[in-house]
Amino acid sequence: MNIIETKNVRKNYTRSRFDWRTFKVEKIQKRALLGINLEVKRGEFLGFIGPNGAGKTTFLKILSGIMIPTSGMVNVLGHYPFEKKYEYLRQISLVMGQKNALWWDLPAIDSFKLQRDIYDVKRSDFDKRLKEICEILDIEKILGRRLRNMSLGERMKCELAACLLHRPRVVFLDEPTIGLDVVSQRAIRKFLKKMNEEEGITFILTSHYLADIEELCERVVIIGNGQKIYDGRLKELKEKYAPDKVIQIFLNDLEDKKKFAHLECKNKRLEGDLGVIESHGPELVKVSEQVFKNFGVENILISDPDIEEVVVKIFAETR
């Protein structure tokens, strides 16, 4: 069953500028979304990818009810989000990686208590839930520390904890790992994955870190220039836009380089001491046979193309 459904969602930003020479008001219109259709099922972890200004955050804000679309149908959990019905708002949450929703000068626990009151969570439920989340995120020790004295990673963990205290059904995540170190990024991904798998929370994630998308999202939507370019499984995205496997061979000496030069295949190139071949389908089998015949196994690496390369390729094509 779909819990998010949108049809032909458009959003235009209009800015007025007064021209002092002609004494006329000029209206400048920017089209942020050009008709987005989307269906999301309960428990999905959906990733939005797109360059800056593509319309990802705008779409997220329309889904959460912050902004009103210029036209189109939006239905989230059976509600039109912009009506801002409390029944709807109780079931969603939003985390923005670049902003703080918690009180800057106070310990995180005080902001959590405020969340408890806002969402009408019973004290016993709140205590139980807080304990659960603190254990997973390992933030028990920092609950009494003021937010401004926390590291960025610790702050983001607290933001995530606050947004999940009231057990929302849908969570919108706008670049939650931005600026974080690798360890914090991993901890947050692990937490989100657990919440998604164990509690069936639907997550809608936008991120420029494709490692987030690769690890968390089975399904991705690519937005470019306000339009949906791709909507499907991440694996299929690679198959569609970059079907080639990448074979890398470490070439130890001149003899290896000569052997590499004599390999019969189309897409091969030499990058210093590294021979790179891109191939797929029946050709891949033939090439692999040649490679394994000529080079030692310890010097061969076969991998999928880098997801970042795939996305860059798609953005370049749509520009």
Binding site: Y13, G53, T57, K61, S64, G65, I66, M67, I68, K84, Y86, E87, L89, R90, I92, S93, L94, M96, Q98, K99, A101, W103, D105, L106, D110, S111, K113, L114, D117, I118, Y119, D120, R146, D174, E175, T206
Partner: protein, 267 residues
């Protein structure tokens, strides 16, 4: 909102508790503010003393009545600042321009309440209370016999006046949804409210008309003060309640229109 009154009270209380904790972490800041407040009150008392050395009354009000009204006006300013002014200033300062209003809009509570109440200044409540005590003290020094009825109506009109003051403040700030950078808006009513400190009779008829019916700042202080010193006028009390109701409905309407216009900020 009425349905969830208990929840609103508990969230309001939590805002207060958090603000108190915040202020206690930087006690010097609050102490300096209170000190400035005391100095300002002392200067105003000297100022009124100098004026009354040269005249018997202002607009028909004697020294103690005028001083009492000054403190009533201060009760209004300080209570407004204690509860909602900082929150409303944030609306102009960053909530709309930087998109932080987003966090208020996704909460299952009234966004106007959340924005207004999210940054209380506790020390202002202390000064408001001190000013109330001084207002009553000077009112009793006027020599006018004050009855229970005077106090009851006065208390009601103080509440009505606070609501109206809040509405006037918010109405002047709502254009920020359209024009985004309008920092100068935040003090319009603050500047106008200087006129709230004096008896209505000192203003020419045209200005009195404006201050009663167009920008009804005299309803905020003068009518409560008048009700304290003179027999309560049902006409005045009724008018204060009706005009406050009208402004409240108008404020709610404009707030909702503003939210439709709100475009947040890009990430």
């Amino acid at each position: 909102m009425v349905k969830n009154l208990g929840k609103y009270i508990s969230v309001g209380y939590r805002f207060m508790v958090n603000a108190l904790k915040r202020d206690l972490m930087i006690p010097g800041k609050s102490l300096v503010h209170i000190l400035v407040e005391v100095v300002m009150v002392a200067i105003m008392l000297i100022y009124f003393q100098v004026i009354f050395n040269n005249t018997q009354s202002i607009g028909g009000w004697n020294y103690y009545q005028t001083i009492s009204m000054y403190f009533i006006a201060r009760v209004m300013f300080d209570t407004d600042q204690a509860l909602t002014r900082s929150g409303l200033r944030m609306l102009i300062k960053g909530l709309v321009r930087e998109g932080d209003l987003d966090f208020f809009l996704i909460k299952p509570m009234d966004s106007m309440f959340m924005v207004a109440m999210h940054k209380p200044q506790i020390y202002k409540l202390l000064t408001a209370f001190a000013n109330l005590v001084l207002a009553i003290y000077f009112a009793n020094k006027t020599g006018i016999a004050l009855h229970v009825g005077n106090y009851v109506w006065f208390a009601l009109l103080i509440v009505v006046g606070l609501v109206l003051y809040f509405c006037l403040n918010l109405i002047t700030l709502i254009p920020v949804f359209w024009f985004i950078r309008l920092q100068s808006l935040k003090d319009i009513i603050g500047k106008l409210s200087t006129a709230m400190r004096y008896p209505a009779a000192i203003y020419p008829t045209s200005m009195r008309f404006v201050f009663y019916f167009v920008i009804p700042i005299l309803v905020i202080t003068y009518i409560p003060a008048e009700t304290l010193f003179y027999p309560p006028s049902i006409l005045n009390i009724g008018y204060a309640i009706i005009i406050t109701g009208i402004f409240f409905v108008l404020t709610r309407k404009l707030w909702k229109i503003g939210l439709i216009k709100y475009n947040s900020a890009s990430s």
